[in-house]
Each structure stands twice: as C-alpha cells, then as structure tokens.
Symmetry: C2
Subunit: 160 residues, 2 copies
Amino acid sequence: MRLSTKGRYAVTAMMDLAVHQDTGPVTLADISRCQGISLSYLEQLFAKLRRQGLVKGVRGPGGGYRLAKPPRDISVADIILAVDEKVDTTLCEGQENCQGGKRCLTHELWNNLSQQIYDYLAQINLEEFLSRPSVREVIERQGEGGQHRHEHEVRRFTLA
Amino acid sequence: MRLSTKGRYAVTAMMDLAVHQDTGPVTLADISRCQGISLSYLEQLFAKLRRQGLVKGVRGPGGGYRLAKPPRDISVADIILAVDEKVDTTLCEGQENCQGGKRCLTHELWNNLSQQIYDYLAQINLEEFLSRPSVREVIERQGEGGQHRHEHEVRRFTLA
DNA sequence: CTTATAGTTGACTGATTTGCTCAGGATTAG
DNA sequence: CTAATCCTGAGCAAATCAGTCAACTATAAG
C-alpha cells in the first residue's frame, strides 16, 4: 500500500461525489476547478476508479460521475488501491548471508505493520466518515454561508 | 505524509536497530545485505534519520548505528516523516468559481482523514510494536532457528 | 603509529512515477 | 444537429526513487 498525492486526489474526489450524492452527478470539470488538478489527470484517475467499479460515468450534458455503490461499501483503502499500483515487495528471500536468520525478521515486522495500516484504512468507509461529528461540522459550516473558508490552515500532516 | 518503499525501508531498518539494541550497533552493510537495499541508498536514508535525531552513528571498527532514543520515544510516524519530504498541498485557494463554496470542503475532509492516519501511526512506537504478541512470536521464531554465525558476530562476541 | 572499519558527505545517473497536454473519439440532453 | 460530458490513448517534462562512485573523517585494534 502506497500513499501519495495521487491517492489523496482520488480520495478527496470520491468524498466530493459522496457529499453531492443526491444533487446529481459531479463533473470532472468542477472537481478540476475546485481542487486545482488538471482535467486530463482526473480523467486518468477516474478511469481507474471506474474499472474498479467504484464510480459510474453519466454521459452527455448534465452528466458527470456518481458513486457506483452506496458510500458504506466504499472504503478509503479501496480508493487508494484502485489508483495506486501495488508495490513490489523486494524480499530478501532468506538469503544465506543473512546472519543466522536473525536479522531478516524485519520484513515480517513490516508485513505485520503494513497489514495494520491497511486494516485501518479499510475500516473507514465513506458513509461512516462523512457522518462523523467533526466531519459533519465541516460540511454544514460550508453549506450555510457562501463564505469561502479554508485559508491556509497549517497543513502539517498532508498525507501525500 | 507519504507512504512508499522509502518509508518502508526506513521503518524496517529502524526495527532492526530496535531488535538488536542490546547486541551493539548494527552496520549499514548488514542491513544492506539482509534487506537487499544498496548501501549508499541506506546511507542517504540514515543521514536523514540522523539529522532528525532518531539514530546515532558509531564510527570505527565494531561501529554502526544505534537508536538515539529509547524505542518508546520513536513512533512510526516519526520515521516516515524523517525520510519522506513533505509534499506541496496544492490548495484550490478559495477560487470564486468554486460553486458556492460547497465543493471545496473536500480539502478539509482530507485534512480530517489525514490527521487521523497520522495520529494512528504516531501512536505506534517501536517498543510497543515489538512487544506485541504477534510480533514477539515472529522474533522468537527467528531467534531459535539456524544459528550459524558470521565472523562479525564472532569478533564482536570476543570483544565483549 | 598504522591500518582497517565504518560513518559522513556530495556529485552524478538511469529508471520510474507524477502530473499534465493534446487530440481525438463516443454518448446523450435539449 | 449541437453542445456537454465521458472516454481513450499517445506523448512529455519534472520530480522522485534507487543507486553508483568517490572522497573524506573518526575511531578501535594491532
């Protein structure tokens, strides 16, 4: 599992679809404008999301993209795996120059940790995430006034 | 925060140091041999880990690297942040063509999620991780097996 | 003191990934 | 029809990844 800006783009875009689920399809042009990503790049990302069965495209005027499944059935891990190719594992493969087998355990330790991170992200689905109080607060704050927020809040931990 | 093979290398290497904490410093050459990473690449990674105060170098024969702090004070998030540069945030900057401000909330949603992932990784420190039953099992299973030693360890043993 | 070990640093390089442009299709609402 | 929108593919510049090479410094061992 890899976590980069690519995955972030995909996740934020999917959140966008989830939030506007009842207000019709969302066009890539809108997402592009709002998130500052190029349209063609978004098209590539959505091609993957579509191939993984996470979104459905609606063609023609008034079209756009919508979620292919209820938000409950889409996890953050699903989204990230859809756009980020899996990474090779480059094991040491138990080479005999590994000293007494005592050191190569780190691979297993990583596997252990890696699985945990995956499980954590797999357990967060869009519905659950959007229904959290802290998240709802953000959504409602945006909904009420037309004021543009999101000044440069210190974004120390951009998972990207 | 980014999660890639680079971060994985760093984390597994740090686990290595933590496991062999009482058996003296671990050389990059050993880690290189066992994990199949090039020595020079490891040197670059450890230069960053060192600058962040996570490891200390011990020069001269019998030297190597050791943890600069007790394993309890080193989190997985620390390690990953040390080697992975932070990424630009590419905000939408509150452009007025964001439709009623209603769509740009996805940035904040991402921040929310991002913070959670960070918190999750920040709460896993090396000591706690290595003491987990499932992890200890891996370590002990490796420890008992084929014990053919290398000249290195023989030499280090006679020193002590 | 001399030497071998091992960290430290920096310049450089090829491969891959990222993010993007351009150029065209295909599909459908009005 | 026409315009909006998805869809597809080729191609490309920049960044990052992963590694090589080459020198240097500090230190323990003999």
